[in-house]
């Protein structure tokens, strides 16, 4: 690991000042991704600005929803009574991620900004356009089983690994940011970029911008929501594919819905085509399949991850079918891949 200085700023303003104009400074949250990437030689900051002591750890009810401090640990987030009651989809997605230990360390901001688990990105002996722009993308012809089927480019086919971000993309969350240029909010989806010809940029954040909070607007039909994750083992593994969905059904017709997909793109993928196909449609498995097909019409799977398209279709249809049951839905068995 490269030597670095460690700073613990007194407040948000001094944290932003400490990182401003210093491309080799990095904010440190729980460290569960950054410390690992530093050890692997993928991240080589010269200064760590520890923001855990100054990031809010509060979860508050605002008029229109919940305001979640950037420093809230994932474990505290999923356990919070307000979150469990008002945003069960968010609590469920967080609980599906990582392990108890990691959730106790991981912060909301760090979770959103964690980097891809593409094996080439994490291996400094290999080329990778995300790590070293212009060096190539070996995943395209190599190991891309876990990588993207939607929205990728010839330059990068990585996926964003966060479960929490998928729920936040479904819930129209707003990310509060402070930076050298002042404060702003960034909507989700919209925080994470598609790779295009700049795969080294995961998000739209400018260098030095600090996430301070995430706002999750109230969703009237939040109770009828579900996060369903498919992974290679029953627990403690990243998503192969995942679905965050909320459904508002009346008289057998879909009045409204929110659908976001994980494990399939460089960003948590809001399934706008599926949502459009569903609004006003009958709440039947046939219509759910039609909506899934509308979304997947935009996909371009690679040779070794083509299985993700039918897998996603099945998981989406099943999740929506469960949600459409008149009596709500019963939790069912975790899905495992063959």
């Amino acid at each position: 690991m490269r030597p670095f200085t460690y700073e613990r700023p007194a407040d948000v303003r001094s944290a932003v000042a400490a990182a401003a104009g210093r491309p080799d400074a990095a904010y440190l949250g729980g460290g569960t991704n950054l410390v690992d990437l530093m050890r692997l030689g993928v991240a080589t900051p010269r200064t760590l600005v520890d923001v855990t002591r100054i990031s809010s750890r509060a979860i508050e009810e605002t008029g229109g929803g919940l305001l979640i401090g950037a420093g809230v640990r994932n474990g505290d987030l999923a356990a919070d009574p307000l979150v469990r009651r008002a945003q069960p989809l968010l609590a469920r997605a967080v609980l599906e991620g990582a392990s108890g230990q990691i959730r106790n360390m991981a912060t909301v901001a760090g979770n959103l900004l964690q980097r891809t688990r593409c094996p080439y990105f994490q291996d400094v002996t290999k080329p990778c356009n995300k790590r070293l722009p212009g060096s190539g993308c070996p995943a395209r012809t190599g190991d891309h089983r876990n990588l993207a089927i939607l929205g990728h480019s010839e330059h990068c086919v990585a996926t964003h690994p966060s479960d929490m971000a998928v729920a936040l993309a479904a819930l129209d969350a707003l990310v509060h940011v402070e930076g050298p240029g002042g404060a702003r909010t960034v909507p989700m989806p919209g925080l994470h970029r598609l790779p295009g010809d700049e795969p080294d940029r995961d998000t739209v954040l400018a260098p030095g911008e600090l996430i301070t909070a995430v706002e999750v607007p109230h969703l009237p039909f939040a109770a009828r929501s579900r996060y369903r994750k498919v992974r290679d083992r029953a627990s403690f593994a990243f998503a192969v594919v995942s679905v965050a969905a909320a459904l508002d059904v009346a008289g057998g017709v879909v009045r409204d819905c929110r659908i976001a997909l994980g494990g399939v793109a460089h960003a948590p993928w809001r399934a706008e085509a599926a949502e459009a196909a569903l609004r006003g449609a009958a709440a039947t498995p046939e219509e759910f399949a039609r909506a899934a097909d509308a979304e997947l019409a935009r996909s371009s799977p690679l040779p070794r991850n083509a299985f993700k398209a039918p897998l996603l279709r099945n998981v989406l249809v099943r999740t929506l079918t469960d949600l459409a049951e008149p009596a709500g839905f019963a939790e069912s068995e975790p899905v495992e891949t063959p």
Binding site: M1, R2, P3, F4, T5, Y6, E7, R8, L28, G30, G31, T32, V35, D36, M38, R39, R46, L48, D50, T52, G75, A78, A79, R84, R85, P88, A91, R92, L95, E96, A98, S99, G100, Q101, I102, N104, M105, A234, S235, F236, E331, P334
Partner: protein, 183 residues
């Protein structure tokens, strides 16, 4: 802390940065001087003689390095020591009360919850943390109802302990031991 801002040596290679800290480990103040790059796992094992926490993977993937930080389970291999000077750290060495084993330690012995024992310190600290989380009403991914207090049946224990791998496959004993203490 004595982190100087210019850390570039004459040859362009940054010099190591050190920090003087006072850790609190198992209730005892422990002054240490560490390189900022050092993880809590290495500090515990190499500087403080506390070799209970184990290095299984050094990447957050196995749980062998689990300790308690302010009462919550955490991975010492992903914790930079320099970040841990204002928290209470408890390692497996701090679980027992003198010669009286922690109930989890006794239950692990009684239930044959180990073979080689390499993962055991991490399993014990993780189980202690998991029991505290459940006592605080925290749900898990398999908790059927987010609004009801969790019941620590086998499914719950397996899910809550999934961050701790055991290469010897002592899982049935581990689940039984944790379940015995949870009751």
């Amino acid at each position: 802390m004595n982190g100087e801002t210019d850390i570039t040596g004459a040859d362009g290679v940054p010099d190591p940065v050190t920090a003087d800290l006072r850790l609190s480990v198992n209730g005892v103040p422990r002054p240490v001087t560490v390189d900022t790059r050092e993880t809590l796992l290495d500090t515990l094992r190499e500087h403080l003689g506390l070799t209970g926490a184990k290095k299984g993977c050094d990447h957050g993937q196995c749980g062998a390095c689990t300790v308690l930080v302010d009462g919550r389970r955490a991975l010492s291999c992903l914790t930079l020591t320099v970040t841990a000077d204002d928290v209470e750290i408890v390692t497996v060495e701090g679980l027992a009360d003198g010669d009286a084993l922690h109930p989890l330690q006794a239950a692990f012995i009684e239930n044959d919850a180990l073979q080689c024992g390499y993962c055991t310190p991490g399993q014990l600290c993780s189980a202690a943390g998991a029991l505290a989380e459940a006592a605080d009403g925290w749900p898990s991914a398999v908790t059927p109802d987010l609004s009801a207090p969790p019941r620590l049946d086998e499914t719950e224990i397996r899910e809550r302990m999934s961050g701790n791998l055991c290469r010897c496959g002592a899982y049935p004993g581990i689940v039984a031991a944790v379940g015995q203490v949870a009751r």
